[in-house]
Amino acid sequence: MSSFGLLLVLLLYLGSLFFVAQWAEKKGNSKWTNNSYVYSLSLAVYCTTWTYYGSIGVAANSGLNYIPIYLGPVLIFPAWILILKKIIRISRVNKISSIADFISLRYGNSRFLGALVTIISIVAILPYIGLQLKAISETFHVVTKSQNSHNVLSDSSTYVAIVLALFASFYGSRYVDATEKRKGIVTAVALESAIKLFFFLILGIYVTFFVFDGFQDIYNQASVIPGFKEKNTVNGLEGGMNWLMYCILSLFAIFLLPRQFHMSVVENNRERHVRTAIWLFPLYLLLFNIFVYPIAWGGNILFDGKGFNSDMYSLLIPQFFNNQTMTLLVFFGGLSAAISMIIVSSITLATMLSNNLLIPYGLLGSLAAESQVENNDRIVRIRRIGIFLMIILAYIYYRYFILGFSLVSVGMISFVIIAQLGPAFFGAIFWKRGSLRGALAGIITGIVVCFYTLMLPFLLSSIHPESRFFKEGIFGIDLLKPFQLFGLDYLEPVPHALFWSLLFNFVAYLFVSVSFKGNYRERNYAEMYVDINRYITNHENAFVWKGTAYVKDIEKVLIRFLGEERTHRAMKIFKLKYNIDKDNTMADARLIKFAENLLTGHIGTASAKILIEGVTKEDKISLPEVLRILEESKENIVINKKLIATSNELKIISEQLKNANQSLMLKDKQKDEFLDTVTHELRTPITAIRAASEILYDDDEIPEELRKQFLKNIISESDRLNRLIDKILDLEKLETGKQKINMLPGNIVQTIRESVEPLNQLLVNKNISLTFIDSENEVHCRYDHERIVQVITNLVSNAIKFCDENQGVIKVEVEEVPDLVRIHIFNNGKNVVEEDIEAIFDKFYQSQNQNIKKPIGSGLGLAISRQIVELHHGEIWARNHQPTGVTFTFTLPK
């Protein structure tokens, strides 16, 4: 394929990526861009061209050694989810935008440490980006069958690099706040991850099943090639050690590579997305590795002895069979792998470069004086140029330094350098004693050892391959041989360098941290990092700060970077969150931390601290005091919880008291009403008696007949008075529980017959017909015979009183249902006013209209009946019939 044609297709591809990124950015929070699968796939930025081409090279040259690079991440994954959640939370509350921020903030927000991490990252990753450019360029030449041009300007890969640099710098720096989620980039990267895996699988299937006859066929043919056996064993304990070191290297990389940190932490917008990643990402790596081996050995079989670059087997095989489509697919798969790595890495490096190096070490002064719009423009410009510069620098690095190295060796060196951040990084989240000096000592020592055992020999070998340095060490000291330091001679150079550098790094970190305690700020952040779950909801409380600061000054600083509107909004939220009076002029520790957080996204942790320090006056705090304050804040949280619990209890109790009081007041009122009615009821017969007696006493001329009538009235009113007193006492006994209910089994039908009998004469007198339906049945249940007789007498008397005056009809019926017996007493009198149908059972019931007296006689019969029935655990109620008639019903349990 011609260079021009391929370049055109390549531009088309970039264009469509651009389109996807643009689309995803617009979609924002839609479920297409904001889901756990996109997140998980974006993590596969881990698989670069190194995986795509380099693994095959390794597998072809040294057998199984490519596996540990994928085994490490897979092995660590169960723990990864726990650690990653913690890192995500720490980063979220502190607005951390890069690994440099993450490490330096923990160690007292050290500007120097942040810069050091940035420089290490750039040193490690730039060659790695160069590597990707190299891969693009080489594969470009393989596909177009063209030669590498020595003239940079006529080499098409130069233009590819420039286009990529422009694309990345445009897309990577859209937001001033570096912690903003870049949906476009993430979606594009996820898409590329899918593409590269898909194309690689197609190639694998093509090689295994179309070029050869399956896995067995490849194995059979490969096993006769010289050296097959040696290459495909672990090589005993020494080989095992090499494997182990590679595994450690890769599991460090999954946390520490700036692009991994960026994708897994900074771009994470839902903690739960991690749950999908935990299975999807290992599965992805597994799928990617299925065909590495067949392709590599297929290449070995096909090109045995031809001296081709085994890194290029995946392109050379389809090309060998003249399959141009397949070649192109593989090329684009590799291109996808390269592009996503380049873009994400350059963005993270540029963010670190601006936030941890350029701004805190120089630009801050000029930024602080400008307006918000200008500041933001400037920050974006710095990052944009930074990204562009990173890619171009990487390209230069590739052109002039690594042209001759294999993909894997450069990648490995990057990994080892980055691994030096490991002890300080993991110490940050698990060990409160880890100090700034310890972290610096560890990282610097590790880098020095790494430089001596790996970088120096690596650089030297490209200049003086025959240098005595390799064989004899520095100054001819045997113990200092770079590849056999202190006599350790069985490890390969990379595991060897990793082993010693990490060991020195770790020991230095540990030793210095234990020997020299950190200052209060380090200790403060140590608490917040290690115990992040405790501080997650109000982490500003955990920040210890003492001194003098004015809200106005802090607001001014914020406005310069956030603008007026956002600052006021943020301040409003802050004051609401902590319930702070809006007229408060003095700032406290929480506001300091809050303001630092707001600035951090824009200019990094170190600069945020410097800016805030500029407008505040901090008092020194001793370490014990920090610990005391932190302890207090912990206690406060506990006390607060307790206070809330107590106040809730109080609320409940006061509510109960209120209810109790209300019901007491109601009872009191009812009691008053009851007394009122009782006295009224008592006075009525007394009034009649008194009037009649007075007449009899004063009037001698009264006719005999009338005199007798008055005397008769006096007798009947006296009886009435007596009955009334009896009933009041009955009710009182029932209500206070003095009246015991003696429940015995009995035939309720029999009891009803007995109760009705004494009323027969009255019924005859009043010409009322009483029907007792099924009066010969036997219905058994448990009740107090005497009391139930009282109830039935009351209800039947009531019915007699209210049934139709001319043609009175009363019906009594016993109904048996499971568990209980219902006794219905019907009369054909007037309806009870519907709204009073429940109130009639109240003692001395009165209608809503207080002064309408109901002709219920004593007014106590129904109340007493209800009391008795309820003591039997039964119910009593009345129901109107249309147009006339009322049924009173009560139940008795069986």
């Binding site: 009224h680 009525t684 009034t687 009649a688 009649a692 009338l706 309408i852």
Partner: protein, 123 residues
């Protein structure tokens, strides 16, 4: 002959009152609740009404309200005769326009005196 309407739901009390006032020389009408009273008042204009308060159907308060709103009955004297004997009850009764308030149980003599004095006032 002066006309008196007695309204009470207790038949024994009613009987005593009816006997007493007949004997004292009044023309007596009786009603056993407010409703009956109102029916009588459609055709008769008594000089004085003795009115119970707690009664079925239409109570004493409603009855006096009707009386006070009836122009024909504007010179009609009203005595409340009730077992409701609290200060507030008496105030309420007088507030509705009654000319006197007597509590039960009552002295027959005093009631007659009260009736007589009210009727003299009217003359």
């Amino acid at each position: 002959m002066k006309k008196i309407l007695i309204v009470d739901d207790e038949p024994n009390i009613l009987m005593s009152l009816e006997y007493t006032f007949r004997k004292s020389g009044y023309e007596v009408f009786i009603a056993r609740d407010g409703k009956e009273a109102l029916e009588i008042l459609q055709v008769e204009v008594p000089h004085l009404i003795i009115l119970d308060i707690m009664m079925p159907n239409v109570d004493g308060y409603a009855t006096i309200e009707f009386i006070k709103n009836e122009p024909q009955l504007q010179f009609c004297k009203v005595i409340f005769l009730s077992a409701k004997n609290k200060e507030s009850d008496i105030e309420k009764g007088m507030g509705l326009g009654a000319d006197a308030y007597m509590t039960k149980p009552f002295s027959v003599k005093k009631l007659i005196e009260q009736v007589q004095s009210l009727l003299q006032e009217a003359d």
